[in-house]
Symmetry: C2
Subunit: 195 residues, 2 copies
DNA sequence: TCAATATCTGAACGGGCGTTCAGATCAACC
DNA sequence: GGTTGATCTGAACGCCCGTTCAGATATTGA
């Protein structure tokens, strides 16, 4: 027998993932070469193919894991509270989650068109699951009379777009802390769907 | 003497611009080659260089003209009305303008990182001018008591992000007309900044 | 009609691309 | 300590890249 697992596989794999994440976020998927990724990890390009079947799979796995994390964490939010409390929890969660991983968020939004049609369909389905979770909250709130929203689908997309925009300007060393940002966005969202 | 102007220049130039616009929007700047653009216009790649010094200038001119159009049209909105009326006009204008040119909007948001630092600074400056116009409206409204906004800078970015998101889902043959979309977004924005 | 010149072609330049693979290297188990 | 197999190198494959430019082509003013 020999090694049951590659001795470096457990280290090199994540390092490749991190390098690809950083480079894709900075320059874009199409503008980053496998040789650049390999160089960032201290490898030759060929060695990458011990860890990914091809460049496309590298992008897809980053986006897929990101969406799985997003939906997994979302599912842990309390679902029995009032629509207003659930909406507040959603807003605060969305902001915190996205600010914790700006590079993944950037990739997940910008590189959709670089996915193969099959991979795109998978990510798009997960994205829709996420949107549906918010739409459910808004619908419940409208049904119970605590929200007044003319079109829950449009409101869902509007709220998500507004919240996700935080990643384009927030800086950890900036004027506002994360809780302050959460408070400010929650105040706007709360009013925008209020009766 | 000979031709005072190239007989095709007035036709080929815009055709190159349009092809580049379409291809950049569909595949991304980095993923589109000069040969693809030339082929879409029925030329060899070398001929493009009669119309643009290089690929970067092609991207920059698209984005620069887009921002100039945006700011030019914005300046035509009435500026003497009440903050509330000015905000409504801004919201309706932003939606209509962006839905009329989804490809340019897409490029202007997605390809910023493919600009040279100098070109990026120019576009970023114009973008800030646009944001400042909205922030002025919000500040005036806060000063006159008709708006209640805790942080006008954050609210500015939040509103723009929310409105621009319309381009990611709106389809001309979809469920909602442009005026309906404008009404729905204006309703949400109005409430989100209300006192 | 013909000279002038705007426009375009076609080939070339040096270089980088994603991917493959034979063989070198090296760590873990017997 | 030798064997095994995971890991990696280095070279190669065919192809495409942005850009340049000499020369062909096309159109207009004279």
């Amino acid at each position: 027998m020999a090694r049951t697992q590659g001795s470096h596989a457990g280290i090199t794999g994540p390092r490749i993932r991190d390098a690809a994440l950083r480079l894709f976020a900075e320059h874009g998927f199409a503008a980053v070469s496998m040789r650049q990724i390999a160089s960032a990890v201290g490898l030759q390009a060929g060695a990458l193919y011990n860890y990914t079947p091809d460049k496309q799979a590298l992008l897809f796995s980053l986006m897929k894991e990101h969406m799985d994390d997003l939906l997994g964490d979302l599912a842990r939010l309390p679902s029995s509270a009032s629509p207003s409390a659930r909406l507040e929890a959603f807003v605060r969660f969305h902001i915190a989650f996205h600010l914790e991983r700006p590079e993944l968020v950037f990739i997940a939004y910008m590189e959709l068109r670089n996915l193969t049609p099959e991979n795109f369909a998978v990510i798009e389905g997960l994205r829709r699951d996420y949107e549906n979770a918010l739409q459910r909250i808004l619908s419940d709130g409208v049904a119970s009379g605590c929200f007044e929203v003319a079109d829950t689908k449009l409101a869902t997309l509007a709220v998500i777009a507004m919240l996700t925009g935080v990643t384009t300007w927030y800086r950890p060393d900036g004027r506002l802390s994360v809780p302050e940002v959460q408070d400010l966005y929650w105040d706007m969202v709360r009013k925008s769907v209020s009766a």
